[in-house]
């Protein structure tokens, strides 16, 4: 993982980050996903077919915590605390009501050149999981493209997709699906 270069405002960020580090221990969500070794009754072998062996525990690297950003990112009164952009069915158009949120984050990235984020695209659960993964990717890409137009650098924003795998809401109704068609902004270290 590349070290971040601090821009002109870097000193401020370091101070704020230090304050933030004092005030909040990392939450459980910040640690990497545990991939567990499960052995249901011992290692199986059936001679004339390949045996199946559970894997060793995978080590996952948590995102570097050294860039927990400005308190503004978590201040509920600040627009930067708004992190979700919602989309219409089968659409990757960033609607007018969400443009100020995208713009605020783009500005923040521009002012904090060493800061990186991921935009995580999501889709509702109707249809193919892989196609929905691609739809989520398209939504994340749309948010990134708008941020770049507003001054964020390409390498500051990685876009990934969770497809339909991380629903915020689990009922089969439009009120629920609309919550799942979204892009989430997550800063590195969060």
């Amino acid at each position: 993982m590349k070290r971040f270069r601090f821009g002109l405002l870097g000193l401020n960020i370091v101070i704020l980050a230090a304050l933030a580090a004092c005030s909040s221990a990392p939450t459980k969500e910040q640690s990497g996903a545990a991939v567990e070794d499960r052995k249901p009754g011992g290692p199986p072998t059936v001679v004339d077919r390949p045996p199946v062996v559970p894997v060793d525990p995978a080590t996952t690297r948590p995102l570097s915590p050294d860039q927990i950003g400005s308190a503004a990112l978590r201040d509920p009164k600040n627009i930067l605390s708004k992190r979700s952009i919602f989309f219409d069915y089968d659409s990757n158009l960033v609607k007018d009501e969400y443009k100020p949120i995208v713009a605020a984050h783009a500005r923040y990235l521009q002012q904090n050149g060493g800061t990186k984020m991921r935009v995580e695209g999501n889709a509702d659960d109707r249809g193919s999981r892989e196609y929905n993964l691609a739809l989520g990717q398209r939504r994340a890409d749309a948010v990134r493209q708008m941020m770049q137009l507003l001054g964020a650098k390409p390498d500051q924003v990685e876009t990934v997709s969770f497809g339909e795998e991380k629903p915020r809401c689990n009922e089969a109704a439009e009120s629920c699906w609309s919550q799942n068609r979204r892009g989430d902004i997550v800063y590195q270290g969060e």
Partner: protein
């Protein structure tokens, strides 16, 4: 349905040795899926299976497993084999008139004999009730833990001799179980028995895909908080990321020679299809569009790739040369056709077609372009052919829970694999393995 006429001579019992090794566990403790059968084939071959000599005392009886396998195929029905004293165990014991009067076209007889090393000799013969000749006969040496697999192998032989198609009862399936926040990638026998978790995670796992030799599985895991393609050995449990590029990595599909994977990457923007080595390495781009190109699937001859694309405005299935190049659209009915998978003979493919608000399993013949919708669920997903092309396994939802189902490729026979817990989804049927 044709009987294979060539019968083996009476004494010629081929030995097929199943050597014992390693540690075993009792599969009965691990049963996770049970099967319900809905519907039957147009014509069913009547077969009598006589309980094998000395199988009564076994913890794992052989003939009930053979019978359940054959019935599950939908094209074989069982004829009552009880009430004979003594029951026949050898060809010379058979009173063919009795079996013909019971309506049996074929009779399965056999025996189980314990060996001094703790294993068992299992032998069986498939006899033609009309011609009074042996159609097949094999002997196996199996540990107690291998008796169930031995039964599947016997069922494979019986099925192939009676229908002309390879049996797939000794093959395996892979699927994902979601229980609460937990995701387990599991491998089980084709009848859902003996499920084993090969990867457990608190993040989603999707799109498992068997290597052509059945020794490895590629899948997408979100454990790094983004989709990354891994390949895992079932022999050693070793796993490695093979596509972990900037952005999303997903939808792995093996080339038939097992050397490469078609994957979907977003590293250059959008979702596009690339080739990577089965051990990772550089990605070679195959599609160049501004649309979504995903769900690649190699043809069995390795020459072409089917995939889903919305380049025409709605998601449809396209075919392109395996080296890339100009795709041709192959689906035209309806506004949503996704998740293509070739049939084992390469002459057709299965896919998901939406009609109204329903998503169903369909097949389409390449030559005639004829589409046959095989299922009537509301949310059917992820169809995958059995390696003999006779069944399609898929994920569906019953009362809000994910389960696996299978349907015969003529749509007549349906099976439901009912899980004891959790949501089951993302099935992939493993290959036929050389014996």
């Amino acid at each position: 349905m044709t009987f294979v006429e060539r019968a083996r001579s009476f004494g010629a019992v081929l030995g097929l040795l199943i050597a014992a090794s390693g540690v075993f566990f009792a599969p009965s403790a691990l049963a996770a899926l049970t099967i319900e059968i809905i519907g039957t084939g147009a014509k069913q071959i009547p077969v009598a299976i006589v309980p094998f000599r000395a199988e009564d005392g076994l913890s794992q009886k052989v003939t009930p497993v053979i019978g359940a396998d054959l019935v599950r195929s939908g094209v074989i029905k069982l004829v009552d084999a009880g009430g004979l004293n003594p029951p026949p165990y050898e060809p010379q014991d058979i009173n063919y008139g009795t079996w013909r009067s019971r309506g049996a076209d074929a009779i399965v007889i056999g025996s189980v004999a314990p060996r001094s090393d703790g294993r068992y000799d299992v032998q069986f013969r498939l006899m033609d009730a009309q011609k009074q000749v042996q159609l097949a006969g094999f002997a196996y040496t199996a540990s107690a833990a291998q008796l169930r697999l031995t039964a599947h192998k016997i069922a494979d032989v019986v099925y192939e001799k009676l229908t002309g198609d390879p049996g797939v009862f000794s093959t395996r399936i892979v699927y994902v179980v979601k229980q609460g926040r937990r995701f387990d990638l599991q491998v089980a026998d084709a009848d859902g028995f003996g499920a084993q978790t090969v990867l457990g995670s608190n993040e989603p796992i999707i799109s498992p895909s068997w290597s052509p030799d059945g020794s490895r599985i590629a899948y997408v895991s979100f454990e790094q908080k983004k989709p990354v393609v891994y390949v895992q050995s079932l022999l050693t449990g070793a796993r490695r990321p093979v596509a972990n590029f900037w952005g999303s990595n997903s939808a792995p599909s093996w080339s038939p020679d097992g050397s490469r994977l078609a994957v979907v990457l977003s590293k250059d923007g959008g979702s596009q299809i690339y080739l990577v080595g089965a051990d990772g390495g550089e990605a070679v781009r195959l599609t160049r569009s501004s649309s979504i190109d995903t769900e690649p699937n190699f043809s069995p001859d390795g020459k072409s790739i089917l995939f889903t694309s919305d380049r025409g405005g709605s998601p449809q299935i396209y075919r392109m040369p395996a080296s890339g190049g100009q795709p041709e659209r192959v689906t035209f009915e309806g506004s949503y056709n996704v998740s293509p998978r070739h049939s084992p003979d390469g002459k057709a493919f299965t896919f998901i077609q939406r009609s109204g608000s329903r998503f169903n399993v369909a097949t389409q013949d390449f030559a005639t372009r004829q589409v046959q919708v095989l299922t009537d669920g509301a949310l059917d997903e992820s169809p995958t052919f059995a390696p003999n092309g006779r069944m399609v396994l898929y994920a569906t939802e019953v009362r809000g829970r994910g389960i696996l189902s299978a349907v015969s490729s003529d749509g007549r026979v349906k099976q439901r694999l009912v899980s004891d817990a959790g949501d089951v989804r993302e099935p992939a049927w493993g290959p036929l393995l050389k014996q």
